[in-house]
């Protein structure tokens, strides 16, 4: 099994610990994305897997083999760098072949591999060009070619798309996804872009300040963030978070969140107390302009309508906290200015503890 297992991995530079004991198991053929704000330790973690950074404490296993003290070249991993790190003095074919040459593979084998990779990545017409004569997307592809030509057990990607413009990024994202489907290689991908994380990942690992906040499929992380950090990081725009106090009526099973003077209905199964301070979370996408039987209404005061074409973002405030609602425009946005309340499906409202920021989950079995 070509999986990667991180067991209580710690990284410290002198006295300063930057990665605080993380645990992660990447399954064979899985595409795992480490995502988090800059400085969260995601790149350091990736570089520890690559062998470019020493592991201060904990165990790293690739393919069930302990590799803490194994040189990068003997770990059977390949990495795509953020800045591509293509050798400018070598042409595309030589760049791709570099690793194979170092490993002293036969000339025929190298030629065959290079032309195969060129074919896969659509680089065949450019094999004789130098990196300087390629576009950003082509360079990116060469960098990937250099990684896949060795058929490593594990692919590592260190923000490979962050130097591309938005359009190219979308295109290359799809290409990486396709490539992963085709090659089925175990991949660990680092990005600060949550859209990339959502679109590429089999599982997302959300990191913050050197710890893993949550591991889950994109939908799990999106729908059920474990804390306010994940709720605020994943999603674009992120989840709205508003301070509220729980109101529970004696003799009634109904639960409400009191925001200022307004009451918002909550799922009845949440394990909360009357008077408890919480943070109410609701995704902008889940706020709708039309009420239905299962929704609760939230009064807002609108201050800005942002048009994205097919959708519009309503920037408003709820008890002085800014919130955003995302709605479809159907070609007309003028009527959106008249909105005074939005509706949230009760089941999609999330609650977080006001002190710890942790999600308050429904009682199991109910």
């Amino acid at each position: 099994m070509s999986g990667v297992k991180l067991d209580n991995i710690v990284k410290a530079y002198g006295e300063i610990e930057v990665v605080h004991g993380i645990n992660l198991e990447v399954q064979e053929k899985e595409f795992v994305v480490l995502v988090g704000p800059s400085g969260c330790g995601k790149s350091t973690t990736l570089r520890m897997i690559a062998g470019l950074e020493e592991i201060t404490d904990g165990e790293l296993k690739i393919d069930d083999r302990l590799v803490n003290r194994v040189a990068p070249k003997d770990r059977d991993v390949a990495m795509v760098f953020q800045n591509y790190a293509l050798y400018p003095h070598l042409n595309v074919a030589e760049n791709i072949a570099f690793g194979l040459r170092i490993r002293k593979e036969s000339k025929e084998a190298i030629e065959k591999s290079v032309s195969e990779v060129g074919e896969i990545l659509g680089l065949t017409p450019y094999l004789q060009r130098r990196p300087a004569d390629l576009s950003g997307g082509q360079r990116q592809r060469v960098a990937m070619g250099r990684a896949i030509v060795r058929r490593p057990k594990v692919f590592l990607f260190d923000e490979p798309l962050s130097n591309l413009d938005a359009k190219l990024r979308t295109q290359m994202r799809a290409e990486i996804k396709r490539l992963h489907k085709r090659l089925g290689a175990t991949s660990v991908y680092v990005t600060h872009d949550q859209v990339e994380a959502m679109t590429l990942a089999d599982r997302i690992v959300v990191m913050n300040a050197g710890v893993i906040e949550q591991i889950g499929t994109p939908m799990e992380v999106f729908m059920n963030p474990v804390n306010t950090f994940v709720a605020g990081f994943i999603g674009s725009p992120p989840m709205n978070q508003v301070k509220a106090v729980i109101q529970k009526r004696q003799g009634s099973s109904e639960l409400h969140a009191k925001i200022g003077d307004d009451l918002v209905k909550l799922p009845e199964t949440l394990p909360i107390e009357d008077g408890q301070e919480v943070i109410l979370g609701i995704r902008p996408e889940h706020l709708s302009l039309n009420p239905d039987a299962s929704s609760t209404s939230i009064p807002i005061s609108l201050d800005l309508v942002e048009t994205l074409g097919s959708e519009a973002l309503l920037h408003a405030t709820l008890n002085e906290t800014p919130i955003i609602a995302k709605t479809e425009t159907q070609g007309d946005i003028d009527h959106l200015w008249e909105v005074t309340e939005v509706h949230a499906p009760v089941s999609l409202i999330k609650l977080f503890d006001a002190q710890t920021g942790l999600a308050i989950r429904e009682k199991s079995g109910s």
């Binding site: 800045n83 790190a85 250099r146």
Partner: protein, 294 residues
């Protein structure tokens, strides 16, 4: 209303003109000795001795060259200069390139100390006599090897190349390492090709300093058959000026001390002039473009 049509203020214009004049003066001051020496080497002995040569040769003759080029000692010393230059430059590069690479690596144990150790020699050295004694005790007096390895490492060149290596993006090394390259392969297959401009620069520095190397060659070498051209030049000047017999012949010869000296100098400049244009191209453009995205 006065309008400045070409976007430069009066001060800028004056500055530009003054700069051009200064550069012109410097160029003339640097170039003139070359022209003068060349002119003297083609002039008649009397005219040169009388100080009549200014820019163009007077009483043009090739007599001085004939005299120089027929001396076997000239050719021996010329050959020696080539040996010292080529051998010395190769040895210097073989030491400086790996040395600079090692000093540029963050993982080098005691890196600060080693760097300081090298930089120290930029400002302090043992001095002339201790160095001479050291060479003597090592048995390196009057030997080709002594000249070649005794001056192989130049701290300035080492630091120059180290700085260049340090300026290369770390990801080149990391990518090569992931590809399975060891330090030697990273150095020769990645860093050296990427550092052509810097290596060309230090190569030229080495060549020029070796070619012109005079003082230590004079001090350390005794055998006439081992001396380089610069030392031969000095010997020639000394012997010709002291040689009464030679002075006596001056009335009958079309060359003199000055023209012979100038001819040797011209002969010694030519190879450097030939090498320079080949190295020059590396100074002009970097080759880093495109490899990494900044």
């Amino acid at each position: 209303m006065a309008m400045n049509m070409n976007l430069y203020s009066r001060g800028d214009k004056i500055f530009a003109i003054a700069t051009s004049i200064l550069i012109g003066l410097f160029t003339a001051a640097t170039l003139y000795p070359f022209i003068y020496i060349a002119a003297v080497s083609f002039s008649g002995g009397f005219a040169a001795a009388a100080g009549k040569v200014v820019i163009t040769p007077i009483d043009t003759t090739l007599a001085a060259y004939k005299y120089v080029l027929t001396q076997s000692k000239f050719w021996i010393s010329y050959g020696n200069t080539f040996i010292y230059t080529i051998g010395g430059t190769i040895v210097s590069l073989l030491i400086i390139i790996p040395g600079a690479y090692a000093l540029s690596r963050p993982q080098l144990i005691g890196r600060r100390f080693w760097n300081l150790f090298v930089a120290f020699t930029l400002w302090f050295n043992a001095g002339l006599i201790p160095f001479f004694l050291n060479m003597r005790d090592l048995g390196l007096l009057d030997s080709y090897i002594g000249i070649i390895i005794g001056f192989a490492v130049n701290a300035f060149n080492l630091i120059l190349l180290r700085n260049f290596f340090e300026s290369l993006p770390q990801s080149f090394e990391e990518a090569a390492r992931m590809d399975g390259a060891n330090d030697f392969q990273i150095l020769w297959k990645v860093y050296v090709p990427l550092s052509k401009p810097a290596i060309a620069t230090i190569t030229l520095f080495c060549i020029v300093s070796r070619w012109n190397g005079f003082f230590w060659a004079m001090v350390l070498l005794q055998s006439e058959e081992k001396i380089p051209l610069q030392v031969f030049l000095r010997h020639t000047i000394a012997t010709l000026s002291d040689d009464h017999e030679f002075t006596a012949t001056l009335t009958t010869q079309p060359f003199g001390v000055e023209t012979v000296t100038a001819a040797i100098i011209v002969c010694s400049i030519i190879p450097v002039l030939i090498v320079y244009p080949f190295v020059q191209k590396y100074f002009e453009k970097g080759i880093l473009l495109g490899g990494v995205k900044e």
